[in-house]
């Protein structure tokens, strides 16, 4: 490994980052998630923490741009240079830029996260069959409203699971229209537009008005790329037109003819020779997670490694099951020391880990493509099995929020309703509901009186009231000693008092004064006999106190007797 001259590094461990804009290639939650996972790669082996900011100046400012994008190092179109980042420091130092002439994916072709429909935001499954035909991309077949959709399992007719694919007919991103969909036709500088356009901009991004007249309303947003859209060229966002004529010959698929670099391209009209409209065909793309993890290595102070298998090797290689090379670990630990947090034990798959709850009121979820058969969900879902709560051995924290049991793990949360026999729901992204929080939550509780939700991570805590947040603040402000490195459990005792557990001790916090009461800490095993004194989750649920260690729980009744020991997975998560 190599560091930059002078061993440039951050002089603080709580590094902040901010995502300034998004690529049209992937839905924003997938991009958020890819960056969060890329930071986690480094967090897992250092004492560094990464907090996302939504305004102001962060240590690491992340942006997408094309060609000349505002610094002295322009990008070079598709392929070639993918991204760059600056070593730690003030101003542009520490920032990471990603070339938006690349096709950003999770490394294995278009990463299409669905919206609405009935698949709870799952990823499209390509190929899928519908009405006996196989589809390798989103389609408008079976619909009259021209909205592209896909199946989220391999067989729509069997499973009936579907969602809508990103398109300008569904939403926009960025801009000033809060994600409203495009309105066509719209007027811009007194000219009428029937599709997204790059007119009026010099950065090549496609946009549309979200009312019928931009000139009067000034409302606009950027258009998400459809999975079938060409990349770059002079027709970005348009679909290939097959067949097309090139140098007098007809082509029914993408071709590398006419190019010296072997890249596949197509015409976006029926005749290239006449119209000269073209773009590159969608390919596997580059894993935003892997490239971001590399760039963040630079932003933390690592230069290029000469070891081919290392993350900091300058060339891109896709790795399905990524794990940090020992060379990278030694490099980053040379700068920041080793981490106190959990060590990675399993490779990181480059798959999205978020699903969202699309608003069913906005799009009719019963408006299925073409229902024919009775649903029979036998084919596998594309939800990543590694994000399956039932395969999680140890959760970061378990707590009850709004009467619902929440299971937190590495940026994700699963929910189990307290009533009925329904199983768990998720994985949901923590950042979607509580954007200010880091990926790992050590402990959380909801104040039953004020409904404020307290989250603890390392030596910091946040307080959410609805959507507004206070923090992060140091737990030392509450009166916890500096020796406490994390709060592992929280137990509401009556109104206004909460027990905070760490190691073999617990403290009582007065929520009104926001201070630890006198007479604490106390030993956990003295007050709560019969439970492990190294429990990593402590919470109250349906009148019982639960102490969790790895996959097991110890349940204590109101007389402080352990009345049950069981599996978290089966009894609390309701796994089959």
């Amino acid at each position: 490994y190599k560091t930059f001259d002078g061993d440039l590094k951050w002089d603080h461990q709580d590094v902040t980052y901010r995502i300034l804009n998004y690529s049209p290639d992937m839905e924003s939650s997938l991009i958020d998630d890819a960056f969060a996972r890329a930071f986690k790669v480094w967090r897992d082996v250092t004492p560094l923490t990464f907090t996302r900011l939504f305004e102001g100046t962060a240590d690491i400012m992340i942006s997408f741009g094309k060609a000349d994008h505002g610094d002295l190092y322009p990008f070079d179109g598709k392929d070639g240079l993918l991204a760059h980042a600056y070593p730690p420091g003030e101003g542009i130092q520490g920032d990471a830029h990603f070339d938006d002439d690349e096709f950003w994916t999770l490394g294995k072709g278009p990463a299409v996260k669905t919206l609405y429909g009935n698949a709870d935001g799952a990823m499209c499954h390509f190929p899928f069959t519908f009405e006996g035909r196989s589809y390798t991309s989103c389609t408008t077949d079976g619909r009259t409203d021209n909205l592209p959709w896909c199946s989220t399992t391999s067989d729509y007719n069997k499973d009936k699971k579907f969602g809508f694919c990103p398109s300008e007919l569904l939403y926009t991103f960025g801009g000033n229209a809060d994600g409203a969909k495009c309105v066509f036709p719209f007027t811009f500088l007194e000219k009428e537009y029937d599709s997204c356009t790059t007119e009026g901009r010099n950065d090549g991004y496609r946009w549309c008005a979200t009312t019928s007249n931009f000139d009067t309303d000034k409302k606009y947003g950027f258009c998400p790329s459809r999975d079938t859209a060409v990349i770059g060229g002079n027709s970005e966002g348009e679909p290939c037109h097959f067949p097309f004529v090139f140098l007098g010959k007809e082509y029914n698929s993408c071709t590398s003819e006419g190019r010296g670099d072997g890249k596949l391209w197509c015409s976006t009209t029926g005749n290239y020779d006449e119209d000269k409209k073209w773009g590159f065909c969608p390919d596997q793309g580059y894993s935003l997670f892997l490239v971001a993890a590399h760039e963040f290595g630079h932003a933390l102070g690592l230069d290029h490694s000469s070891i081919r298998e290392a993350l900091m090797y300058p060339m891109y290689t896709y790795a399905e099951d990524f794990s940090l090379h020992q060379d990278d670990i030694e490099g980053i630990q040379y700068l920041y020391g080793s981490g106190t947090g959990p060590k990675p034990t399993t490779p990181e798959p480059d798959t999205p880990s978020t699903t969202s709850n699309p608003d069913p009121d906005e799009t009719d979820s019963t408006d299925e493509p073409k229902p024919t058969d009775v649903p029979n969900p036998t084919t596998p879902s594309t939800v990543d099995p590694d994000k399956d709560a039932c395969k999680t051995l140890k959760f970061d924290t378990i707590t009850v929020i709004e009467g619902v049991l929440h299971f937190f793990k590495d940026g994700h949360v699963w929910k189990v309703p307290s009533r009925g026999d329904a199983g768990h729901k998720g994985a949901l992204s923590i950042s979607e509901r509580w954007p200010a929080l880091p990926a790992v939550i050590d402990s959380a509780f909801e104040d039953v009186l004020t409904k404020k939700i307290y989250f603890f991570s390392g030596t910091r805590f946040w307080v959410y009231t609805g959507k507004s947040v206070l923090g992060p603040r140091s737990i030392e402000k509450l009166g916890l000693p500096s020796s406490v490195q994390k709060v592992e459990g929280a137990l509401q005792r009556g109104k206004g008092k909460v027990l905070l557990f760490s190691g073999e001790n617990f403290w009582r916090l007065d929520l009104k004064t926001q201070k630890i009461d006198r007479g604490y800490p106390k030993y956990t095993d003295v007050v709560f006999g019969g439970v492990p004194n190294d429990a990593h989750d402590v919470f109250q649920y349906k009148g019982h106190i639960y102490f969790c260690r790895d996959r097991f729980y110890w349940r204590m009744n109101s007389r402080r007797q352990v009345d049950r020991v069981g599996y978290v997975k089966y009894d609390l998560l309701r796994c089959p």
């Binding site: 060609a67 990008f75 179109g77 070639g80 993918l82 002079n234 006419g258 300058p314 060339m315 891109y316």
Partner: protein, 89 residues
Amino acid sequence: WSIPLKSVFVTFPGDIVKNMTDVELAESYLKKFGYINTVQRSGFQSMTSTDKALKRMQRQLGLEETGQLDKQTLDAMKQPRCGVPDVAN
């Protein structure tokens, strides 16, 4: 017998990537990533020979150090990569 296709290269409008010869590509690569034309600490520029720059690049990227613009080296130069220079300027 099929007649081999005679490839014709065209200039695509809006294409940032220009058709370059192998030597042009190598020169551009070695400059862009800091292997030649590096500024010395004393302040003046020194142009290392292309052979030396190629060797340096081959060493950095774990390739066989031939000092020649061989296929392996050219292939490496065509790979997608990070834009941060390998040799600090």
